[in-house]
């Protein structure tokens, strides 16, 4: 029997540093070298000042839930055994949004504080989020 694997991202020159960091368990975001605006997903130009110069800034991967969905149907066979699984969109403290797999048992709520982390396994780096006890 053929085992169908989950799809892997295909990085390009622009996104390669993001994935290199992800595979070390670090979330990095593009930061404009000219005006310091953080952007995500990776883009060539800063839309605030149009500079093409940027650095990669490490994110603490903390933020708040923006929205979510619970998948009940596998549109790709490799996700069948994960069903049902929850995907969350998270407003990161740096001002950009990320999508990740929800790992907490509790039901997501808009505004719930969360902590992101990459799950590393055999060539994969999947961004995941857990509820963060609010201080």
């Amino acid at each position: 029997m053929t085992i169908i694997e989950k799809p892997l991202p295909i990085p390009n020159a622009l996104s390669q540093p993001y994935w290199d960091a992800a595979h070390q368990g670090r979330l990095v975001l593009q930061c404009c070298a000219s005006c310091n605006t953080v952007r995500h997903y990776p883009r060539l130009l800063c839309t605030q000042c149009y500079s093409d110069q940027y650095t990669w800034q490490e994110s603490l991967a903390k933020g708040k839930i923006h929205s979510w969905t619970v998948a009940h149907h596998a549109f790709h066979v490799a996700f069948k055994e994960d069903l049902p699984y929850t995907l969350v969109t998270v407003d990161l403290n740096e001002g950009v949004r990320a999508m990740g797999v929800w790992r907490s048992a509790q039901q997501p709520q808009i505004g719930m504080p969360v902590q992101g982390k990459f799950l590393l396994s055999e060539g994969r780096a999947d961004l995941q989020f857990n509820a963060l006890a609010s201080s």
């Binding site: 989950k6 997903y41 149907h73």
Partner: protein, 385 residues
């Protein structure tokens, strides 16, 4: 100021039978629909002098020249914005016609999605405009449009209290109208309860919140208004038309306001151009990839305030005898999914008085919307001549 208002008319419409498992490929379906549209318009296919194939999926302008015997193609364009493309093509066609570039533009779309390699979950990741989704979201399981759009709907429900039954009201209205249409794929009535009980696909979307996967082709002809008056069919003008794009069109997740669509930017331009008010609209065909998308667009187009789209669609308002008859052909939810070109075909028929059993009485002014990819939008307001 120069305006596209009433410069161009939809003079021909054509559709293949809609189904699953067609033996024809996308381009064959386009050709079949195109010949029907020419015949409906009373034009010889060779008289076409402009062509706008919809999407990046099938026949090119060259293919249409080769197969329709077009001897003097003066205009071609390719519009790659998914389900917003057909209505955007109306703007593109009206612009070319109003400036005298050409006289008769063929707009056509066809697709065969029954092949395993062409299922929704695989299809969109072959499209360049989805590259961010493919790289950052697909690998963690956000694969098909139902999953990509669902967080928008979740947020709308959480912020505005939109309910499952309100989604259901859209599904039921479309199905009710599909039952009046011999060329609708879905043939069985549904109730709000059937909608509620249909299986969950990607919460909050149930099966009956999702549009169909269909094989089929549709085509329309847009002609110069002075010529249209002497053609075969009753005249239907394109009175106002506009397109709009959301911020962050490459991925919904990156949008500052996830619940806002490109159509919000376009709608007032179309109304202004047409010189009509919302209360003047007799019938609407709204792009319904998901039930939620109809509610969202009704708000963005200003038929009600943001957040009030849920209550707006209740109590039969979208039905033939309601205040805003919507998707009189059954829509993508219950007629067929051909990227909404079927919506333009249907609005044209309604304004000609050829709506059959779903004819809205005395329909004079109508609106059709398009909604593509991850929020691109377009609106056209059309009127009976």
């Amino acid at each position: 100021m120069y305006s596209l208002r009433d410069q161009a008319c939809v003079t021909g419409v054509g559709e293949t039978a809609y189904m699953r498992g067609s033996s024809k490929n996308a381009f064959e379906l386009q050709l079949e629909a195109s010949l029907k549209a020419c015949s409906d318009a009373g034009l010889k296919p060779s008289e076409i002098d402009g062509v706008i194939p919809i999407g990046i999926v099938s026949g090119t302008a060259e293919d249409f020249i080769d197969n329709l015997g077009i001897t003097d193609l003066r205009f071609s364009a390719l519009i790659p914005h998914g389900g917003a493309s057909p209505v955007m093509a109306l703007q593109c066609a009206a612009s070319a016609i109003a400036t005298g570039v050409c006289k008769h533009i063929l707009i056509t779309f066809g697709r065969n999605v029954s092949a395993a390699s062409n299922k929704a979950g695989a299809r969109i990741h072959n499209m360049p405009q989805f590259h961010y989704v493919t790289e950052f979201e697909y690998p963690i399981g956000s694969i098909a449009p139902a999953q990509i759009y669902a967080p928008m709907a979740t947020r709308h429900m959480e912020l505005y209290g939109t309910t499952v039954a309100q989604f259901g009201a859209v599904a039921v209205a479309c199905r009710t109208h599909a039952l009046l249409n011999d060329n609708a794929v879905m043939k069985k009535p549904i109730t709000l309860e059937d909608h509620f009980n249909s299986r969950m696909i990607s919460d909050p979307f149930r099966l009956l919140d999702c549009s169909l996967e269909s094989d089929g082709g549709a085509a329309i002809i847009v002609s110069a208004a002075p010529i249209a008056k002497d053609m075969k069919q009753p005249v239907v003008y394109i009175s106002g038309v506009a397109e709009g794009h959301p911020d962050s069109p490459g991925s919904i997740t990156q949008r500052p306001d996830m619940t806002s669509l490109g159509i919000a930017k376009a709608s007032h331009r179309a109304f202004e151009m047409a010189g009509v008010k919302h209360a003047d609209i007799d019938v609407v065909e709204i792009y319904d990839c998901f039930t939620y998308a109809v509610i969202r667009q009704i708000e963005d187009m200003g038929f009600c305030e943001k957040g009030e789209g849920g209550p707006f669609v209740e109590n039969g308002r979208l039905h033939l005898d309601g205040d805003l008859p919507t998707n009189t052909h059954g829509g993508l939810l219950s007629q067929a999914h051909v990227w909404g070109l079927n919506h333009v075909v249907e609005l044209t028929r309604q304004l000609r008085g050829q709506g059959g059993r779903a004819q809205v009485r005395d329909a004079k002014i109508g609106l059709v919307s398009g909604y593509g990819d991850l929020g691109d939008g377009a609106v056209a307001i059309m009127r009976k001549g």
